[in-house]
């Protein structure tokens, strides 16, 4: 067996709680074995009095304070991650699609209940429906996230570089422009009424705080968690990233149920999916989604 190319004497030892960044161990020059290494030796545990200078399993320098080799622990954690990634993707995909269908059903069922219960189709009815759907969807998505925590964990832990947040704002400007054009076309060419988001709230005397919270913050956070978090991560286990982005965008498009918005919703879904994959983080997408909705709200009140 060849001696390892060199000891990582210059590298800081891993933190006792274990490294967060899965890429850390790739720096360790001794980590050349493939995952199913038949030569894998058990992680060594030593009492403090008999602490070795080097780990007998991996040859890394042994910090005097250790009772077990942390480089070995890190490699084991990496292998476990690799095994998890290669494990059957059926359950996560079925679960993700389950979330989609539950969200689809709750939207239409809650809207139907409120609309039928409130015959006059008044502003109060619309507001109630939106509030109810918002609350129910939030609970459902958060529950699902709790159960699929390992799939979305990385998207929430990674904070993308600052430039991506600028890019997210740029994306929102473009998607807002697209949506605006689509609405203009529908209103002028097809003579279809524009959906007003803020009007019913203002009529009933609800403040701007609630509007921003319900129309801008809640959809941004919850829809990103659901579509780019749970669904996109699950789909990426069975599809290429590009195909997964397309399918998640289609799901995002259909859930809004407004057929005439489908074209620009699909494009928004593609853009947000691309942000998630490119940055590895859910936060730029959340920002883009928030800014887009905010612009829609502002534009609506500007126009009156």
């Amino acid at each position: 067996m060849e001696p390892p190319p060199g000891h990582p004497a210059d590298q800081p030892p891993p933190h006792p709680e274990g490294p967060e960044d899965p890429g850390l161990a790739d720096d360790w020059p001794g980590n050349t074995e493939s995952p199913d290494d038949p030569f894998e030796l058990p992680q060594r545990t030593m009492p403090a009095a008999a602490a070795p200078n080097f780990c007998p399993s991996c040859g890394a320098p042994w910090e005097p304070a250790w009772t077990s080799c942390l480089w070995c622990a890190e490699r084991a954690a990496q292998r476990q991650q690799g095994r998890e990634r290669r494990s059957s993707p059926t359950k996560p995909v079925v679960s993700a699609l389950g979330l989609y269908f539950v969200m689809l059903l709750t939207t239409i069922v809650v809207a139907a209940i409120v609309v039928w219960g409130d015959q006059a189709a008044s502003a109060a009815g619309e507001v109630k429906a939106e509030l109810a759907i918002g609350i129910v969807d939030s609970i459902i998505v958060l529950l699902w996230c709790a159960f699929s925590w390992t799939s979305i964990r990385s998207g929430l832990r990674v904070l993308a570089a600052g430039k991506w947040y600028l890019a997210a704002v740029g994306v929102a400007l473009v998607t807002f422009a697209l949506a605006g054009i689509a609405v203009e076309v529908l209103v002028r060419v097809f003579d279809i009424d524009q959906i007003l988001y803020t009007q019913p709230f203002l009529e009933l005397g609800y403040g701007w705080g609630l509007i921003i919270l319900l129309v801008c913050v809640q959809p941004a956070v919850i829809e990103e968690l659901a579509f780019r978090g749970v669904m996109l991560s699950a789909l990426r286990r069975v599809l290429d990233s590009r195909d997964a982005i397309v399918v998640s965008a289609l799901l995002f498009m259909v859930i809004h149920l407004t057929v005439l918005s489908f074209p620009h919703l699909f494009i928004i879904g593609l853009a947000l999916g691309y942000l998630r994959v490119k940055t590895g983080s859910l936060y730029p997408g959340m920002l883009a989604h928030f800014v887009h909705n905010l612009l829609v709200v502002l534009a609506e009140t500007e126009v009156g």
Binding site: M1, E2, P3, P4, H7, D36, P38, F39, L41, P52, N53, F54, C55, P56, S57, C58, G59, A60, P61, W62, L97, Y100, F101, L104, L105, I108, V109, A112, L235, V238, L239, D243, A244, V246, V247, L250, L251, V254, L257
Partner: protein, 186 residues
Amino acid sequence: MNTIACPHCGADNPLNAAFCTTCGKALPDQAAGAGPRIVEGDAVAGTSAGRSLQEEELRKQAKRAAGALLAVAILQWVFGAILLFAGQAASGRLGGGVELNPIVYAVVFGIGVIFFVLFLWARRNPLPAAITGLVLFVSVHLLDAVADPSALVRGIIVKIIIVVVLARAIAAGVRHRKLRQEMQFG
């Protein structure tokens, strides 16, 4: 004796240590008879004949999935045509007024168009197209059922058959993807 001496520094080490605990250098290989390793490259076709066989299998799976989607598209158009003619016939008999809302025709034919587009996509890339097809089909009929619960039962057998056909298309898509991965990466 239950220790082994390091050939570099002479210190004692446990029997199955791979590295010396004193100087950190590699100890001589202790493990013997580890057995043959299965190299994943065995899945790559070595000859051109083998390669073309794999490609043929790939095409077959893609065609299976695409065919299912095309079948659904055609079914939708046929159903739409039936509705159209039945509506016209009924309105002819009753003197006009039983015609269905034109939105219904638009939706039925529109879904047919969507499945035709999915068919085209599936010929290149069957798995995402098949997944989208099944999800869309179930979504449309769920929404239909909420709006009009009796619609769920009408033609339930055909709907179940279509769901099964689309699920099999997904299975074909999965086989296609696995085969393509094996061919590329071994």
